[in-house]
Amino acid sequence: MLPRSQIWLLAVLGAAAVMSAVSGRLNPYWLDVAMGVGINIILAVSLNLINGFTGQFSLGHAGFMAVGAYTSAMVTTVLGSRLGLSPVLLRWGLFPVSLVAGGLLAGLAGLAVGAPSLRLKGDYLAIVTLGFGEIIKVILQNLNAVGGARGLSGIPSYTNLFWTFTVAAVTVYVVWGLLNSTYGRGFLAVADDEVAAEAMGLNTTRYKINAFVVGSFFAGAAGGLYAHLKGYISPTGFDFNKSIEIVVMVILGGMGRHLGVIVAAILLTVVQEPLRKLGDWRMILYALLLIGLMLTRPQGLFVWPLKRRNA
């Protein structure tokens, strides 16, 4: 008998495959929203590993998403045209490879950014990742090979329900499995009390960097999905506001809570469209939401009386 978490994973994968098979009959608008939900679940759950479970604060999740999006788009557009593969192989073979490539490069960027800043106690990561988000924009705007400020267009639309929810399920599975492993308890220990964790013999820097790199990897994969969903990416599409959107999902759902964050990701993506009518007021609402939640309900909006994690 398989462990329960693996049954869940298989069930979601099966559902994704079935949904994908009938997706041609679905309303294309809702199909788009559903894939957006999947991508945001990946982003929120992976950020939750960093911000929630490990207690570090990253403000550059959109930057890592950008790295992944550009990498995977370059893989499918440049390699895709040269390899001369059949369309089926491109969609089912090269595309997942490009997602992994995007994730790996994003993870590498995460290592480069995280290693210097996570060695130290204090909130350096927040400002370094904020800087990273700005810098990646500057770099992408100056790289003519990826379209510069004009952005990259003509990306094939390989993203479908199956890939989106497969990656989402894998993300949830990995994060959940990681945290429930013997090793993973260390993440929670670092979040609860870094000094105490260190005194227990944990290499806290190692834990922080590992959480950050794994989180960045999945952000990169989500970026790849996003690029192949929209067909067009530009440096300004991955700005600070995008990072904040993901942060709001994590905080609304409750930092360090599995289900709450997923619910928040779904909720915020679905209400995104009506919220768009608010225009500029949307970000003001997000800002007030952040401040209000921190002042009154720092544990998040959806807190169920589940069994408490034992610190």
Partner: protein, 296 residues
């Protein structure tokens, strides 16, 4: 040679502005141990206060310019104290992560309210001081640059006096050494923290005006990059260390101006970031950190 001197001068006047902003970061870090993300947006509000004050006080003269400058500083001081009272004070004994997220929320709020109230489009900043170009040999010095340097010097001098020679300054230093001990000897921590925010925000307001004088196009998101660079300056000098912040600001300004003069100029915004990574790797305490006991 004149080219180099010219760049040096440009770098110093840019660095002076970074120094003013960096001082606010470092002071707040000294007393509360968290990064005040909203600081860069107080800087932006300072520039807009100048924009709206300038036509009302009849600027364009030295006196008018000083009025605009002090008005913006006063407005920012009030804003800083308000932010602290409403958003940070209720979180006094919570984890720094909670305060940090709140600070990001406040920053986001100021930026987006700014876009609503001031409009998202860049606005031309008026000349609030009389502008002339002075020539020394081959060197071109704009009067604005001299004003930036003079104002910065005066403000730094005043700050030094306040921190080292007044009762409030002594209280600030005591608080940054040990907040609990400070309250035990009868210091009203909340009042000192309010004062620190007022002081830091006033400097940011002055920085906003001076920045807008030299780059006369202002928009609600203008604070992000200078704020980021000023933070790097504060870390470079040693966060929590006042002379360090001033020195760090000057250095960042110089390096950035020197890079702008080369072919890598499109990457000039990335320089501060590279410096930050290098400091964190090799000297996380900053240039002057640890060497001095004075921490505010």
């Amino acid at each position: 040679m004149t080219e180099l001197l010219q760049q040096l001068l440009n770098g110093l006047s840019l660095g002076a502005i970074y120094a003013l902003i960096a001082l606010g970061y470092t002071m707040v870090y000294g007393v509360l141990r968290f990064i005040n993300f909203a600081h860069s947006d107080v800087f932006m509000v300072g520039a807009y206060l100048g924009f709206y004050l300038a036509p009302r006080v009849g600027s364009g003269t030295i006196l008018g310019g000083m009025l605009v400058l002090s008005g913006a500083m006063a407005g920012c001081a009030v804003l800083g104290v308000l932010i602290e009272k409403l958003a940070y004070r209720p979180l006094r004994n919570r984890s720094t992560l909670t305060v940090l997220i709140t600070a990001i929320g406040v920053s986001l709020l100021l930026q987006n309210l700014g876009q609503k109230i001031f409009g998202a489009n860049p606005k031309p900043f008026p000349a609030i001081f009389p502008v002339t170009q002075l020539h020394f040999g081959g060197l071109t010095v704009s009067s604005n640059q001299i004003i930036v340097l003079l104002v910065t010097l005066v403000l730094l001098g005043t700050l030094h006096w306040v921190v080292n020679h007044t009762r409030m300054g002594t209280a600030m230093r005591a608080l940054s050494f040990n907040a609990t001990a400070a309250s035990l000897v009868g210091i009203n921590n909340d009042r000192v923290i309010s004062f620190t925010f007022a002081l830091g925000s006033a400097l940011a307001g002055a920085g906003g005006i001076l920045y807008a004088m030299n780059y006369p196009s202002i928009d609600p998101l203008m604070g992000t990059l200078p704020g980021l660079k000023a933070f790097v300056a504060a870390v470079l000098g040693g966060i929590g260390n006042l002379p360090g912040a001033a020195l760090g600001g000057m250095l960042i300004g110089l390096v950035e101006t020197m890079v702008s003069g080369t072919r890598a100029s499109t990457f000039r915004d990335a320089i501060a970031f590279a410096i930050l990574i290098l400091i964190l790797l090799f000297r996380p305490a900053g240039l002057l950190g640890r060497l001095r006991v004075e921490k505010v």
